[in-house]
Symmetry: C2
Subunit: 199 residues, 2 copies
């Protein structure tokens, strides 16, 4: 009974893990009720996301025409300290503390089950290559900035094993963060001391 364009919108948008059919329907109805200028602004904002790309070095986001992301391209940052994070929002949270001026590697969202997916394995290999080619095979520090839960611990174990000859030290974020919590939701203070007291 709803016109086909709405049905199509709901079908496509409710596939996104964050929405679901009810929210997608309400979103469609809200979008239709907007004036033309607001709608155009939303449409353009979506279209502009196409101009984004992943940094080939750390897998953070960059503009299509830039070679590296802003972080990798920043000469004031120390490339010998590398924080391994799960996702983009974790970088954003860590950056907000202003207590870290190293580089990153985004591992990609970890699966629920206790095995690494191919994408994560290949990104770790990529870090290996980066350390070999750019840092003569040895970096100063790898900070495993994964959520402090049992799967994070498991992946930290893998990283410890794989990089024991490629990093002078391998640390984790201090357990200022409550076990079972998520980096994304930690306040800056907690996250800051977790960085200072990394173990």
């Amino acid at each position: 009974m709803l016109p086909q364009p709405i049905q199509q919108f709901v079908r496509v948008f409710s596939r996104l893990p964050l929405l679901g059919p009810r929210l997608a329907t309400r979103l469609a109805l809200h979008l239709i009720s907007l004036d033309r200028a607001s709608f155009q602004e939303l449409k353009n904002a979506l279209i502009q996301l196409e101009a984004l790309d992943r940094c080939p070095r750390c897998f953070f986001l960059k503009n299509e025409n830039a070679k590296l992301c802003d972080i990798c391209a920043d000469p004031r940052r120390n490339p010998r300290i590398i924080a391994i994070v799960e996702k983009e929002t974790d970088i954003m949270s860590l950056e907000k503390t202003h207590k870290f001026s190293g580089h990153y590697l985004i591992l990609g969202e970890l699966p629920e089950k206790g095995v690494l997916e191919n994408i994560q394995k290949s990104r770790l290999q990529h870090l290996h290559a980066r350390i070999t080619q750019e840092l003569n095979g040895m970096t100063d520090e790898i900070i495993v900035a994964l959520n402090p839960n049992s799967f994070g611990d498991f992946v930290a174990g893998i990283i410890n094993e794989e990089f024991k000859t490629g990093a002078k030290k391998i640390t984790r974020l201090g357990r200022g963060i409550p076990t079972g919590g998520e980096i994304e939701f930690a306040d800056e203070e907690t996250l800051g001391s977790a960085l200072e007291r990394r173990i």
Copy 2:
């Protein structure tokens, strides 16, 4: 630190009442991680919403090139029974019951405060004109299908007053205990109506 297109996306999409900045950020990051075909599909679904319009008779949605919405255009439906609803999703809920084959009027979302906005007043006037022009000034029934709360009651009072000479009867949705509900948890008001309107 996030590239400008994401910041812009978050700025624009977090203005939507259903999203907010955190969800908008996660949505942007998710959209970027999609493959090109899925992204195009989402983009096209959004763009297609532009091809929608409101039905000039009941204010439900219709395709741009259709004269009326599917409901108003359906000759099997009875135009002399008109349900006044707040929003599109209410029509969808009522249609799912398969127990109503009349027409509708969408009033638009009622404000929090106890006064009708101009859009609602003009839509009621519009219904007046519809009854005068299409139904010789008198319709069989107006069903006030507004949420059963005190503001719904207030608006129902206004509608009663305005259409007392334009409708043979004006009804509201029956009140009682929802199917599957429990007497123990019903509030007094609901239980009172259930007693008064027992079947």
